[in-house]
């Protein structure tokens, strides 16, 4: 599908100084924002997307990948030092990281988090590089009916897995799809739901929706919760022994099976839409604890606990891109943001990506591998600095983030109309999260909306308007049956939780 010369050309593109510089910059930004509780890599990626508009596609996407990967490493710093994870993914890391930090070994804990994170991430990237091209060949054989059924399956799994209520998940997906219908309809090109605003003819701008719902709504929440309090500075204990400030090779090697298990769990769960890195981290932590000879040592500063959590949550990042690159379906918000960067650069994600943009994709793979290496190098040097970042004032961080969002969206959308849309979606995002609805499902549904509708339209044409004709499409039938089964299963789970 992609010849060897194209692969090599792609990899060599990733190794140009210019592109490496942007990956490095992304890793530094990611580790920095990951270390600040409340910002996190997803918000940073959302803010950064418009600024990649003027960049070369590989540099821009490499930068975002760097932010995403760096954010996971940075997120472990406040988890270890303050028991306040910078990202939800790092919550499991805090279970053993924080006790180790309290015992006077904060650098040992953060370095173990760094090493296991890079190990898990690299494992998952290798899986991504080896399986995504063959999977894309299979995906190319899927027609609009199968794609439509796959999207139904994705929505049903996402609705059930994310959040506490299946019904709320379905509502979030429906609202996302509804917002995706705004603008010209794909078949007749008549304007829909634009209320006389001709700027909406092409639909709501993705950057404005993503930044509004992910960044501004979260900033609004943090601002409303702040109440004028200033976060206390973090005091670091130190035992005074050099061995407690580093991770020896023997300590790293002793965790090899734990990291391999964590990376496998993270890679497997990351390839499925909606499960996410937080679940992977806790699942890996639980598996390691139950397999351990000394389970009582977990939660008291066991390095194996940190290795289990970090290798799993970081492994999700690479495999999250498998459904994205092969089917054009993002399995997480991070993947949805990367896909929006593809679209900003005029690149249509999906199975044809390997055929049409093979060089760029292998450049992306090269950038991912380099981002792992840079994560390691930047982390080795920067961890001492990120420890200080944890105590930075929220007032300064959130005021700066707000200004950056305003500028970023106006640059991406070409004016203040996009900023107004961003504000509207910020309000919607705030209300949705306050009432327990997932903005993750909303954004993925919003992004997939136009493709969902066009697949449905094309499918109906192929079936000559008779939906019962779907029985002659076995893959679509299997996917629809799986969707129905998962909905029933999730409803029963909700019912049990409700009764408990």
């Amino acid at each position: 599908m992609v010849d060897f010369a194209t692969m090599m050309a792609g990899f060599s593109d990733a190794f140009t100084l210019w592109n490496l510089g942007f990956v490095l910059f992304g890793v530094v930004v990611g580790q920095f924002v990951g270390a600040v509780p409340g910002i996190g890599p997803v918000m940073a990626m959302a803010i950064a997307i418009p600024f990649t508009f003027g960049m070369d596609p590989l540099a821009g996407i490499g930068f975002l990948v760097g932010v995403n990967k760096g954010g996971l490493v940075g997120g472990a710093v406040p988890a270890v030092l303050m028991n306040t994870p910078g990202t939800p993914d790092a919550a499991a890391t805090a279970l053993d990281g924080y006790p180790l930090s309290k015992a006077g070994k904060p650098l040992k804990a953060t370095k173990m988090a760094l090493f296991s994170s890079v190990t898990g991430d690299t494992f998952s990237d290798i899986v991504l590089i080896t399986v995504s091209a063959p999977l894309a060949i299979i995906a190319l054989k899927m027609g609009p009916i199968e794609i439509f059924a796959l999207m139904i399956f994705t929505f049903s799994v996402l609705s059930g897995l994310i959040g506490a209520s299946l019904i709320k998940g379905v509502i979030a997906a429906t609202l996302g799809l509804l917002c995706g219908t705004v603008g010209a309809d794909p078949e007749h090109y008549t304007p829909r739901l634009i209320f006389g605003q001709f700027e909406l003819y092409d639909g709501f701008p993705l950057a404005a929706v993503a930044i509004g719902m992910l960044a501004i709504s979260e900033i609004l929440r943090r601002l409303a919760q702040s109440q004028g309090r200033v976060r206390p500075a973090v005091e670091l204990k130190d035992t005074g022994y050099a061995a407690d400030r580093r991770v020896s090779w023997a300590e790293y090697w002793a965790c090899r099976f734990t990291m391999l298990r964590g990376a496998s769990i993270g890679t497997l769960l990351g390839a499925m839409p909606g499960i996410g890195s937080t679940a992977a981290a806790f699942m890996s932590y639980a598996a390691t604890k139950s397999a351990s000879d000394a389970p009582e040592s977990f939660g008291k500063g066991n390095l194996q606990g940190i290795a289990a959590a970090e290798s799993a949550n970081s492994a999700v990042v690479g495999s999250n891109l498998i459904p994205l690159l092969t089917l054009g379906i993002p399995g997480s918000v991070g993947a949805a943001l990367i896909i929006s960067a593809f679209m900003i650069h005029g690149i249509q994600p999906g199975p044809l990506l390997f055929q049409d943009q093979g060089r760029l994709i292998y450049g992306l793979f090269g950038a991912m591998i380099m981002a792992n290496l840079m994560n390691l190098l930047v982390g080795q040097v920067g961890l001492r600095f990120w420890i200080k970042v944890v105590a930075a004032p929220e007032t300064m961080i959130f005021a700066s983030a707000l200004l950056l969002c305003n500028v970023g969206v106006s640059l991406a959308t070409g004016g203040l109309f996009g900023v107004a849309v961003m504000l509207g979606f910020a309000g919607l995002g705030y209300l949705m999260t306050s009432f327990g609805y997932s903005v993750v499902i909303f954004i993925i549904a919003f992004f997939l909306g136009p493709r969902f509708e066009s697949s449905l339209g094309q499918g109906l044409v192929l079936l000559n308007g008779d939906p019962t004709g779907i029985v002659y499409h076995p893959i679509a039938m299997i996917l629809l049956l799986c969707s129905a089964a998962s909905l029933v299963w999730f409803l029963r789970q909700n019912q049990h939780a409700h009764e408990d």
Binding site: T174, L193, Q225, T395, L402, N406, F435, H498
Partner: protein, 140 residues
């Protein structure tokens, strides 16, 4: 305290109802050809919203809105942001950014002069340098 599911379920049901009977007929042109008409998917989605809104009433969880004060504060910050947007459209980003940053920082309780100075003047300056000078793009 307000039950989040019942309140939002009612809101979603009313939204679906309004969409189906008022908004979609008024805002989407009627086309009488093709399997998928412009209003087909929006109508289906509006019906799904109505059904889910009703189901949420029947199967509400115990999730409650426990801090209405926080929502009021969020609404206040939302108004500040909307005023900030209006200021940008009237006097431009360069002049309005320090005012917006000052409003947010002071509302959050920041009183330290160094951090206030950095937030109010430092950040807009860095943005101006990066966007207008380095990237060559025009600020709003």
């Amino acid at each position: 305290m307000i039950n989040a599911d019942r309140a939002s379920g009612l809101g979603v049901f009313v939204l679906g109802l309004m969409l189906y009977f008022v908004v979609i007929p008024g805002q989407i042109e009627t086309v009488d050809e093709g399997w998928m008409r412009p209003n087909s998917l929006p109508n289906v989605l509006a019906l799904v919203l109505m059904a889910c809104g009703l189901l949420l009433q029947l199967r509400a969880t115990a999730h409650r809105i426990e801090n209405p004060r926080e929502m009021a504060m969020a609404a206040l910050y939302f108004v500040v942001l909307a005023l900030g947007l209006a200021a940008i459209s009237l006097i431009g980003f360069t002049l309005s950014a320090p005012i917006l940053a000052a409003a947010v920082m002071l509302l959050m309780g920041e009183r330290r002069p160094i951090w206030l100075g950095l937030g109010i003047f430092g950040t807009p300056l860095v943005i101006w340098l990066v966007v207008e000078q380095a990237l060559g793009r025009v600020l709003p």
